[in-house]
Symmetry: C2
Subunit: 362 residues, 2 copies
Amino acid sequence: MMSRVYNFCAGPAALPEPVLAFARDELLSYQGMGLSVMEMSHRSPEFEQIVKEAEASLRRLLSISDDYHVLFMQGGATLQFSLIPMNLLRGKKQADYLVTGTWSEKALEDASRLCRAHCVASNQAARYTNIPDPSTWQLSSPDQSAYLHYCPNETIVGVEFPFVPDVALPLVADMSSTLLSRPIDVSRFGLIYAGAQKNIGPAGLVIVIVRKDWVGDVIPGTPQLLNYQEVAKQHSMINTPPSFSIYLAGLVFRWLEAMGGVSAIAAVNERKAMNLYRTIDESEFYHNPVEKSCRSWMNVPFTLKDEELDVLFLKQADQLGLKNLKGHRLVGGMRASLYNAVPEEGVAALIAFMKAFAQKHG
Amino acid sequence: MMSRVYNFCAGPAALPEPVLAFARDELLSYQGMGLSVMEMSHRSPEFEQIVKEAEASLRRLLSISDDYHVLFMQGGATLQFSLIPMNLLRGKKQADYLVTGTWSEKALEDASRLCRAHCVASNQAARYTNIPDPSTWQLSSPDQSAYLHYCPNETIVGVEFPFVPDVALPLVADMSSTLLSRPIDVSRFGLIYAGAQKNIGPAGLVIVIVRKDWVGDVIPGTPQLLNYQEVAKQHSMINTPPSFSIYLAGLVFRWLEAMGGVSAIAAVNERKAMNLYRTIDESEFYHNPVEKSCRSWMNVPFTLKDEELDVLFLKQADQLGLKNLKGHRLVGGMRASLYNAVPEEGVAALIAFMKAFAQKHG
C-alpha cells in the first residue's frame, strides 16, 4: 500500500488521518460491540449518543447558542439552494442574492424557480476576482425581501469575504467551503449551511444551523423531510439519517477540539494560505488573479507562466505525492485546496516543489 | 475487540463481513492510491469508474434493461414518497395507493400533500397481517390515476406480497426491504425504489430504477436535484453524491454476484425464513400472526407466549451474540430481520436458542 499522499482536492477533500485510522480500526466492531456503526439501528441508544455528541461538539466549536437548531440533512448544499426559499420566504415573494462566483450564482438560479431572486450585486464582470463594494449593493428592504443570501467562500476562483455583510436583511450563508476553518459569530446569521465534504466529513451530509424563531412557515406542498421545523422536531431523524457520515463528522469535530478548536486551526490555515500566496506573489512564474484583501484561505488557484507547462507540473507534483492540483475547468491552471485536514508539511512540500519547478522552467 | 455478532436489525442492517473487511483494508488508501475513497473527487476517473461499475453490477443482478434509468439519490425512501408524485403525476391529479402496512401508509400520507392519493385497499382492520384480496381493490382507471403504488415487503408486521399486482396502472414499488433478496421481473414496474440500508449498503443512499419514457414532466417548482430526468442526464452527479455509500453498495453488489447472484441468495433466504417460521409454528411458545401465504422472507416478527419473558429472552439472546431482536414498538415482541448479509449459521444459532428458551420456559 502506498503511504498517504498530500491531497489538495477541492472536495470531497482530505480528512484527518487520525480520524480515518480510528474509523478503520472500529469499522467492523463499533466500540467492541461486534457490529459496524453502519449496521446499527439509528434508533439505538448508541447511535443516538453519536448524533448528540456530534451536535454538542459542533455547538462548542462554533459557540452556537440555544437560539439555533443544528440539523443533519441530506442532499448537499445544492438541495439547500431550494430548501432555503421553501422554508424561509415566510409568505414573502422575494429574496436577495449576492453573486460572487459559481456557487452563489447557482443558489440564485435554483431559488428563482421558487421566488423572485433579486441579484443585489455581481462581480462577474471582474471574473469573480473581488467582492463588490457594499456601497454598490442594491439591497431590498426587509418588507420586500425575506433574506440576503451569499457565499462567504467561493471555491472555484478562490474569493472569500473578509467581512460579514452589515445589512438589515437576515443573512443566509453557504459556508460549505469555509465552516470550521476560522471563527465566526453565528449570531450574525439567520441560517448557515455547509455540505460536509470539505471540513466536516464524507459527502452525503449537509449541516444546517438555523434560528429557531425563523422556521415553520413553509411553501405549501413542501415534503416533511425538507421542512426545517419538522427535521428539528425529530432531531434530524424523521427517517434513517446518513449515519456513517454523521459518525465520521463527529470524529472530525472531536479531532478539531483536540487540536485546540477553530481559533487554533485558523492560525494554521492562515499560515498555510499566506505562505502559498507569498510564494505565488514573489515569483514571476505563478499568478493568482484575486484581489489580495479577499483571497481565500481554503482554495488557492494559480496559473503557470506558460500553460503548456501545466501537464508537466501536474505530472511531477503527482509523482511527489502532491495530488489533485488541477484547477477547475472554468479557470484552468492549478488549484490547491487547503482545508483543515491538509497539514502544514503538505503545503511546505508543495511550496518547495513549486519553487524548484519555477527555477527550472522560469 | 468482541468478535462479530449476529445482527438481526431491521435497518440499518447487517452488511457482508467480507465487504466490511475489504473497505476497512483500503479505508486510508483506495487501491493503493494513498487517499481514502471518501477523499476522492467525485469527478475523478477513479470515482466515475466506481459509479459505473456499481450500476453495471446492479443491472446484471436484476437484469435491468436499457429502458430503465438507474439513479443513485439521497434522502432515503421517505423522500421518494414525495418525489414520486412530483415526477410521475404527469399532469394527472390522482395516484392509487395500496396500504398494507406502516410504510405504504406513510407513502400515501406524503403523496396526499401533492395529489389526490386514493387508497385502493387497506388491510389495517386485519392489523396488516395479510394482503387484501385483489378482487376487493378499488382501482382507478389509467385515465384518472397516474400509477399504483405499493410496498412489496412491509418490515414492521412482516408481510410480503407473494405476487406482483396485475393491473392496468403502471406499478411503483417501495422495495427498500426486499430488493436483491429474490429475483424480480423489473419490466413489470414503472418505478422501483429502495433505501440502501437493508440489502444494499450504508444509509444515505436510495436507488431508483425508473422507465426512461416515464420521466421529464414534473410539478412546477420541483428542484433540479429532485427531478429524475435531470438526475439521469447527469448520471446521478448533479452535485457531490454520497460517494462512500455508493462505493460500499458497489462492493455489496460484487459480493452478491460472487455468491451466485439473486437466485442463489433467494434460495438461502427462503431456507433461513422457512426454518425460522417452522420453529415458530411447531412451538406452542412462539407465535407469528401473519397469514402463511404472505409471510416476509426478510422480517420475521414473533411473540412469546408470555410477554413478561421478553426482557429475559432479549438479555439471553444478547449474551449469545444474537443482537437487535426487539420487535417494533407498534407490534411488540421480537423481530428477526434476515437480510442477505445475515448468514444461515446466524439463523441456526437463533433457532437453537429459541428452542432451548422455549423448553425452559414453556
